[in-house]
């Protein structure tokens, strides 16, 4: 299955990845090859097969509703690139 440049640009935008202009042809080729590989799946009839999300078909365990975490802001924000007055900073978002 062949993707073209605009497909790759669209996907890169969806995934918020800046891709260098000169790398687009290689990505396009790589991604097309990978899609060819995965498309081998389409040869198999799986219409009666229940999709498997977890190998053990396990079910969700429930947590008690209790507050177990204290304020740990100083520690957690020590690795943040930009913090002011306890708020994470990003370039102005316009709605």
């Amino acid at each position: 299955m062949a993707l073209d440049r605009s497909d790759v640009e669209k996907i890169a935008h969806l995934a918020r990845l800046q891709i260098d202009e000169q790398d687009i042809p290689e990505y396009t080729q790589n991604l097309s090859n990978i899609l060819d590989l995965v498309n081998q799946m389409q040869a198999v009839d799986t219409s009666d097969v229940e999709p498997m999300a977890n190998a053990l078909d396990a079910v969700q365990r429930l947590r008690k509703d209790a507050v177990t975490e204290d304020n740990n802001r100083e520690n957690l924000q020590s690795v943040a690139p930009a913090v002011e007055n306890g708020l994470f900073q990003v370039p102005k978002v316009i709605e």
């Binding site: 969806l14 429930l62 802001r73 709605e95």
Partner: protein, 484 residues
């Protein structure tokens, strides 16, 4: 042309759990920024979610209350998009297998008619954090305290045709979630939020028109205004030859208008898929039965009981049962005063008037139900008149204190001592020769109306504290004696 509006609503109710839906951080409102955002909420690398059992129980409660199908197996999906208040880059939600399936509620309109509104589904998801745009020049600040607060998103069928129906629906859902104790219902703090999908079509047409979604509406009054305004805007647009563009709009309460936020034409591709960090939630009949047994009285049952037990009118019962906190408040007042009718009048009258004037809610009322009950009790036992009671209420609202304390401190106790009233009546009569002469001259069946003047004089002399019934009797007796 005659137009018809089609309205569907999405309500986001924050569930009243202590901790978040997938972490052990507190959900309390109003903390310092990011002090209630733990490693999981911040989506630190390697962190994983574990589901809060109380969020599940609350969602099932809601499903049972609207007579809905409960998902025996429900699954969390990831809704992928980038936004700074969404730390993981996806919102954990339920698309394919929600916890609550098709259900319905009945709404009652002003004219007494009722209508059934379908609920398509209700699903569990996590709230996002908050973006603060005005704190720093050129920058947006991100507070993730709210991130991970459990939400129940309740999606209606497009069954509503007027703003009145929409508001009745929202009020009913609000009454339900607050009665169930699964949401505090605080709209100002964002615990209960509503998005309105509105479209218009020529009356009689089958297919729907293009709809807009209005977000960010945080009071019942604004919901009504926003919908009314949006319907008008769409009709005007079409009648002027334009067309409605599918878009998300924001309601601006200051201008009372909606404005376009983003066009759906560059729609997001959310790439939903089942969250591999969480497993299917499987619940059985026993679980559902146990939740059903724990359900409190719901608004419809409460209304019926108010009519039966307190002999309230249909209207009073509807208003009082329509808000969980109001209903609970009323019952405390009624029991304390031992007079349901008088309690209803005070709650729906003086109290509601003050709440509205001060733009506050019953949950934040400065006068507690116990205080008001004590006040109504003093009217009932003739300690004070209804008129004095309003003065006491004003003091109570402004300064606090029990009815007895205020009556005592301000000397407002009603005078019921007959001897004392008689001497005041004698004095009033002795100073009103002209009015006494007119009374005497009047036909006996007209004299009743003429008591008003004397009554007023007595009340003035006693500062309103004389028992009106006693004054009336004594006045009549004494004046009639002068006529013989």
């Amino acid at each position: 042309m005659e137009w018809e509006a089609v309205i569907g609503l999405e309500i986001h109710a924050q569930l009243a759990t202590k901790s978040k839906i997938f972490s052990g951080a507190s959900t309390a409102f109003g903390a310092e920024p990011n002090t209630q955002a733990c490693a999981v909420d911040l989506a630190l690398p390697g962190t994983l979610p574990v589901f809060n059992e109380e969020a599940l129980r609350m969602a099932v409660k809601f499903g049972l209350a609207i007579d809905a199908e409960i998902g025996r197996t429900s699954v969390f999906d990831r809704k992928n998009y980038f936004y700074p208040d969404l730390p993981k880059g996806y919102q954990t939600s339920q698309l394919f297998h929600p916890i609550v399936g098709i259900g319905h509620i009945d709404i009652t309109l002003e004219d007494g008619t009722s209508k059934r509104i379908g609920v398509t589904r209700a699903h569990l998801e996590e709230d996002a954090g908050k973006s603060l745009h005005d704190e720093f020049p050129g920058m947006t600040g991100i507070d993730l305290n709210r991130a991970g607060t459990p939400l129940l998103e309740i999606v209606s069928e497009p069954d509503m045709r007027t703003a009145e129906e929409a508001v009745a629906y929202v009020r009913k859902i609000h009454a339900l979630v607050t009665s169930l104790g699964i949401c505090d219902g605080n709209m100002a703090e964002g615990s209960f939020r509503c998005d309105c999908n509105v479209s218009v079509r020529p009356k009689g047409q089958e297919e729907f028109g293009t709809r807009t979604e209005t977000k960010n509406i945080n009071s019942f009054r604004f919901i009504e205004k926003a919908i009314v305004g949006e319907i008008e805007r769409q009709i005007d647009l079409i009648e002027d030859g334009g067309r409605v563009i599918q878009a998300t709009r924001l309601y601006d309460a200051n201008k009372n208008e909606t404005r376009s936020m983003r066009s759906k034409e560059e729609a997001n591709d959310y790439r939903y898929f089942p969250c591999p960090d969480l497993l299917p939630i499987v619940i059985d009949e026993d679980y559902i039965d146990a939740v059903r047994d724990s359900l409190p009285e719901l608004p419809d049952a409460r209304k019926a009981r108010f009519i039966e037990e307190y002999k309230l009118s249909d209207y009073d019962a509807m208003v009082l049962s329509g808000d969980h906190n109001l209903a609970t408040y009323f019952e405390i007042v009624a029991k304390a005063a031992n007079d349901a009718k008088m309690a209803a009048n005070w709650v729906m009258g003086e109290l509601s008037k003050h709440l509205n004037q001060n733009d506050t809610t019953i949950a934040n009322s400065p006068v507690s139900a116990e205080q008001l009950g004590g006040l109504v009790e003093r009217i009932k036992d003739n300690t004070i008149s209804g008129k004095i009671a309003k003065q006491v209420f004003e003091v109570m609202w402004a300064e606090g204190g029990s009815a007895d304390e205020i009556i005592e401190a301000k000397g407002l106790k009603q005078v019921t001592d007959t001897g004392a009233i008689e001497s005041i009546v004698d004095e009033v009569i002795s100073k009103a020769d002209k009015q006494v002469a007119q009374y005497k001259a009047a036909e006996p069946d007209k004299r009743g109306k003429m008591l008003g003047f004397f009554m007023g004089q007595v009340m003035k002399a006693t500062g309103g504290k004389a028992n009106p019934g006693a004054v009336n009797g004594i006045l009549k007796k004494k004046l009639d004696a002068l006529c013989d």
